[in-house]
């Protein structure tokens, strides 16, 4: 089941990406409306991260195209922001939290010139939004995993974009950080930003997102969570794994008959 939207923030059109002749994603076609907090879910190796990387032009595309606010990426780069997986960089790098956040202010224009006072103010403000203002000058290796993740999110915020693509921002962090990040993303959504998050945890997906994209190399479903989050589509995405399915059925039952307290 795929629900399309007329004026999408992000349009993925018939996209196929292959690594070494093996398709990572196959003929994916979906749209994400503006102003939603969306989640991409699916089993390991389903191609969730690949969709984001293809959207950001980081992997070569075999066929299909991506449009952001109706334009190719190169024309709307300053409106798009990407948060890579935390493990993708070396956190022993000699840099402080604020150094990393300031990278969000780099661009073709400012790469050769000095950053302005306003760039520093914006970066500091973004650190405040993720509650790391007291850690601005802390070396990044000395931050916890959750704090490092928040530094990455602050860097994306510093770009002041309209759409944010985040690769596993909830991976390997504690519950308190997870809640803080979720609250931040919800606030951004309420301000009209569009956010698309790759998420590994099925249990929390329904709770966190308004729009869900289900993936298993092919596209299984895309739409508002209430229309696509059901046992049949989940079974299609995750394969006929009985334990998983029965757990899902339980979850769904709880939703249909909420426990009265």
């Amino acid at each position: 089941m795929v629900i399309q939207t007329p004026q999408p923030a992000l349009e993925i059109h018939n996209l196929t990406v292959s690594y070494r002749d093996k398709p990572a994603i196959w003929n994916i076609d979906f749209t994400i409306p503006e102003g939603v907090l969306g989640g991409i879910i699916g089993p390991n190796g389903a191609g969730k991260s690949t969709v984001l990387k293809a959207a950001m032009g980081l992997v070569p595309v075999s066929s299909g195209h991506v449009r952001i606010f109706g334009n190719p990426l190169s024309e709307v780069r300053q409106r798009v922001s990407y948060v890579p997986q935390r493990e993708s960089v070396d956190w022993d790098f000699p840099a402080s939290a604020i150094d990393v956040v300031l990278m969000g202010r780099y661009g073709k224009r400012s790469l050769w010139s000095r950053l302005q006072r306003s760039d520093h103010d914006i970066a500091m403000d973004c650190l405040r939004k993720v509650q790391l203002q007291d850690f601005a000058h802390r070396q990044i290796a000395q931050l916890s995993g959750g704090q490092q993740q928040r530094v990455f999110i602050a860097r994306a915020l510093a770009q002041e974009a309209d759409i944010y693509l985040m690769d596993e921002p909830f991976a390997g962090i504690d519950a308190a950080t997870e809640n803080a990040i979720l609250e931040l993303l919800s606030n951004m959504r309420n301000e009209g930003k569009t956010i698309l998050v790759v998420h590994h945890d099925l249990q929390s997906a329904y709770e966190y997102f308004d729009w869900i994209v289900m993936l298993n190399t092919r596209l299984v479903a895309s739409g508002p969570k209430d229309t696509v989050f059901n046992a049949q589509l989940l079974g299609e995405a995750y394969g006929a794994k009985l334990t998983m399915l029965s757990r899902m059925a339980n979850l769904l039952k709880q939703r249909e008959f909420p426990v009265q307290e």
Binding site: D90, P94, A95, M103, G107, S110, L111, R155
Partner: protein, 290 residues
């Protein structure tokens, strides 16, 4: 005066290598610096053979071209032949270096370039190669001028392109999403490494330049968690090693280049021990382990 020129030449080489070495180390490309520094050998020979002089721009261009060829070949083998990058590196630079050695051996009688000079350098001869103007004014050794110009060039590249080098070194993927060309910065860095190698090959030789590319940066990395401080410390350690190495060589009456590289190694060990036992740093490590 000779001592001054020799130490100055060594220090200029060490400073160039020290700056570039920091970025190589952080990109986990230290051995690519090693590879490039060897692979320029056929380029040096061919340019030397064609132009007939060692201190000409032709040599710089020839070496630069082979340095770039080396990085391109490694990238080609990694991407297209799907070889591991370390295997590709080893394959390419040994081949190019071997070709250079064969060429030099074959034409040894015809040009003033020999294996010993290329492999080990001879910094002691630096004061003999004086740049005289047409009017006969003594402007000092040529090596000091080339080294000085190169250091200025590298300092200018790093100062103006600091943000580009910083972001593409830390997180190349993210830099690409901002529209920054990661290939441009990669090749700018590799081009600078190639040029540095040509200048260094006259003074410390193709083998020992690797010590200058890696050791000062590695020593600085132990001591700081700020990239700018790391660059400064790396240059400082390079100069210390060049100076200390010269006097070590005088004392031992041995190879100056060898003594400079050894001094660098000794400096690294001292700093390593100090970083293990100094209380301030121990506390830093303890915080980092939390």
């Amino acid at each position: 005066m000779d001592a001054f020129w020799i130490i100055l030449t060594g220090s200029l080489t060490a400073a160039c290598c020290g700056i570039l070495g920091c970025f190589l180390l952080l990109r986990r490309l230290s051995l690519l610096g090693d590879a490039v520094s060897h692979a320029v050998l056929p380029g040096i020979f061919i340019a030397y053979w064609l132009s007939g002089s060692r201190s000409s721009w032709a040599v710089v261009l020839g070496a630069g071209a082979f340095g770039m060829l080396c990085t391109l070949l490694i990238e080609f083998l990694t991407r297209k032949a799907r070889l591991q990058s370390d295997a590709a590196t080893g394959l390419v630079f040994t081949l190019l270096f071997a070709i250079g050695v064969i060429l030099i051996a074959a034409f040894a009688g015809q040009i003033d370039l020999d294996q010993d000079c290329v492999l080990y350098g001879e910094i002691a001869y630096v004061p003999l190669d004086i740049w005289l103007t047409e009017g006969g004014t003594n402007l000092g050794p040529r090596a000091v001028w080339t080294g000085g110009v190169l250091l200025l060039g590298i300092a200018a590249l790093v100062a103006a392109g600091y943000k580009g080098l910083f972001i593409t070194t830390f997180d190349a993927e993210y830099a690409a999403t901002l529209g920054i060309s990661t290939a441009f910065w990669h090749y700018a860095l590799m081009g600078a490494v190639s040029l540095t190698t040509v200048v260094s090959f006259e003074s410390v030789g193709a083998v020992l330049v690797v010590a200058f590319l890696i050791a000062p940066a590695a020593t600085a990395y132990l001591l700081t968690d700020n990239l700018k401080a790391m660059l400064c410390l790396s240059v400082l350690f390079g100069i210390l090693a060049a100076t200390g190495g010269y006097y070590l060589a005088v004392w031992l009456d041995g190879s100056i280049a060898g003594a400079m590289a050894s001094a660098m190694g000794i400096l690294f060990v001292l700093v390593l021990l100090w970083s293990w036992y100094a209380p301030v740093l121990r506390q830093k490590r303890w915080v980092a382990d939390l």
